[in-house]
């Protein structure tokens, strides 16, 4: 419940950033650089006098957007590969799964950096890179879950009435593996926020002056002795957003445990 509340709060902050943020995130005010918290700037200002709270709120938009789109890419291709692999089996299954194993063995951030090295630096490319690193996880999980579902009599019935492969996989298999996928989606969203902020932190994701939690923290580190708020605010924001998703994932896992539900 706590996880869901935190996640909804972060989502609302991202959606209502324009209303919630007290100042425009890119508004430079040289007369109030590196100020601590005050009534005018609740979490202080950065080296250009921009309001830290407003930038952190707007940054949630970037994080949520990148997380949703990249996890969408990972889930779409991963589930497609996993369910096709489970359906056809044999050499295709073997080949697809070995490819997934190799991708899975790469550390996420290293693979993301390599992909960004190949594609170039931008937020869109960060979404693609993060999406690709989530494909193997979704593929392995959906293959395992699909294999169990495909043994069900309703699948035999669908085959018997002549339903196409495409319709069986989307209409019969997918709804039955959704609960397990949902748990994976929440943990992938948490992972995506961490990878996006890590990429932005090393200068590969969101490019300044646009705010993201990663690049805000990177800039804040240079001024940490004068104004710790500048670095700590985005750090706390990442922590809260990821904590919410992790708690939500744990809660969902407890409720939707396939072994308990007997979905097989």
């Amino acid at each position: 419940m706590l996880g869901l509340s935190i996640t909804i709060a972060v989502l609302l902050a991202a959606i209502l950033a324009g209303t919630l943020a007290p100042h425009p995130p890119l508004l430079i005010d040289v007369s109030s650089q590196l100020q601590g918290p005050s009534s005018a700037h609740l979490l202080g200002t950065d080296q250009l006098g921009r309001d830290t709270l407003s930038r952190a709120i707007y940054a949630s938009r970037v994080s949520i957007e990148v997380a949703l789109i990249s996890v969408g890419i990972g889930a779409f291709f991963g589930v497609a590969i996993g369910s096709v692999s489970a359906w056809y089996g044999g050499a295709l299954d073997m080949a697809l799964m070995r490819c997934m194993d190799i991708l899975y063995s790469f550390p996420a951030i290293l693979l993301a950096i390599a992909i960004m090295g190949g594609l170039g630096t931008s937020v869109v490319n960060a979404m693609i890179a993060i999406g690709i690193i989530f494909i193997p996880g979704f593929a392995r999980l959906s293959r395992a879950a699909s294999l169990v579902v495909l043994k069900g009599q309703f699948v035999d019935a669908a085959r018997a009435v002549g339903m196409s492969t495409h319709r069986i996989l989307i209409g019969e298999v997918l709804p039955n593996i959704l609960p397990v996928l949902l748990v994976q989606v929440t943990s992938a969203l948490a992972g995506a926020i961490i990878v996006e902020s890590s990429l932005s932190f090393i200068g590969l994701g969101t490019q300044p002056p646009d705010p993201s939690w990663g690049n805000m923290l990177q800039q804040g580190r240079s001024f940490i002795q004068q104004d710790a708020w500048m670095a700590l605010t985005p750090g706390v924001a990442i922590f809260v957003a990821v904590l919410g998703l992790n708690l939500l994932g744990d809660g969902l896992r407890d409720h939707l445990d396939p072994r308990l539900r007997g979905w097989s």
Binding site: R98, I102, L103, S105, F106, P107, A108, I109, L110, L111, I113, A114, I115, M116, G117, G118, L119, G120, A190, I194, S197, S198, F201, I202, G203, L204, G214, L217, G220, R221, I224, Q225, A228, A231, L232, G235, I238, F239, V242, L243, N246, L247, D250
Partner: protein, 318 residues
């Protein structure tokens, strides 16, 4: 039998390394010709780009470039840096031990925290210790390593002055100074992994503690301490080891960020410098060497698991 399985596992390294090299090479060439435009910028004339590509052999078909790169890399020749024009191979070799030491220390931190606390939480299931530790673990999982690093630097280096902000001295030159400098980076790197290891040790231990043979041992009058340490721990260690191997491999990725924060001249910093300088050959070499380290670590973990769980060898041989 076990030595034969180890031999097979080591032989399997070759196709895995080949596949990894294909992934790394073609990933970095997702957009053909991107090396030139990334390094020179987008405002170059086609002639300048063509001269650049010809000079570095980047105008050949990708497969030819790949074969050429691999055949040189096997002999330690990774080409030269676009930025400094220095040979990449010697740089990579000199940086490997630094990253290995950092990742090793990070893993040590993760093991020292995750393993004992996981056992304690499982033994005290449902009590305050277990609940408290589990809550802390979810919190710890939610903090990226660069946030931990920033907080550690702020508190222990800048506020308390206990350790330097960053830097590196080889262990062979000054062991104490080396460990002092690597203390904060290792903690920052290993903390998130410690929470994962805690959770897996706790759940494996809980599963084993509920098994029939543990119940039998308890019924026969074996002390609880002996049951936990001698029977349960060894069996819980098997799934734990698999996850620990993945976590260890993941630490090499984390090193890219941590080395940059703490000014450690390892392979991770080299990746970072290559990305910043759009240095294609350095990026190719450093990512490939890191991927190789990951593959080797995974193989070593598999071999360690064979010694701990002989059933794995027997099962595979059947």
């Amino acid at each position: 039998m076990i030595w034969r399985r180890i031999g097979f596992r080591l032989l399997a390294l070759l196709p895995i390394l080949f596949a990894s090299s294909v992934v790394v090479f073609f990933t970095l060439n997702l957009v053909p010709g991107s090396a030139a435009s990334a390094f020179l910028g987008n405002h170059q004339t086609p002639h300048t780009i063509a001269v650049f590509n010809h000079r570095y052999g980047l105008d050949r078909p990708l497969v030819v470039q790949y074969v050429d790169w691999v055949s040189h890399a096997i002999h330690g020749d990774f080409g030269q840096s676009l930025q400094s024009q220095d040979a990449v191979g010697p740089q990579v070799v000199s940086r490997i031990p630094i990253t290995l030491e950092l990742a090793g220390l990070g893993m040590l931190v993760a093991l020292l925290i995750g393993l004992p606390l996981g056992i304690v939480a499982a033994v005290r299931r449902g009590r305050r210790t277990d609940i408290g530790l589990s809550i802390i673990a979810v919190g710890g999982m939610s903090i990226p390593n660069f946030v931990v690093a920033t907080v550690l630097v702020l508190v222990f280096a800048l506020q308390l002055g206990l350790v330097p902000v960053g830097g590196y001295i080889p262990f062979s030159e000054d062991p104490l100074r080396n460990l002092t400098l690597l203390a904060l980076p290792a903690i920052a790197l290993g903390l998130a992994s410690s929470t994962i290891l805690f959770r897996i040790m706790r759940s494996s231990m809980l599963e084993v503690l509920e098994s029939d043979y543990v119940r039998t041992a308890t019924a026969k009058g074996v002390s609880f301490r002996m049951v936990v340490l001698r029977h349960a721990f060894r069996n819980a260690l098997i799934p734990f080891l698999t996850v620990a191997g993945l976590e260890f491999a993941g630490l090499f990725g984390g090193a890219v960020i941590i080395e940059q924060i703490f000014l450690i001249p390892g392979l991770g910093s080299y990746v970072y410098e290559a990305v910043q300088g759009r240095d294609y050959f350095v990026l190719l070499a450093s990512v490939m060497v890191m991927a190789t380290m990951v593959v080797v670590v995974n193989a070593l973990v598999d071999i360690a698991a064979m010694f701990i769980d002989p059933r794995r060898v027997a099962g595979e041989a059947r």
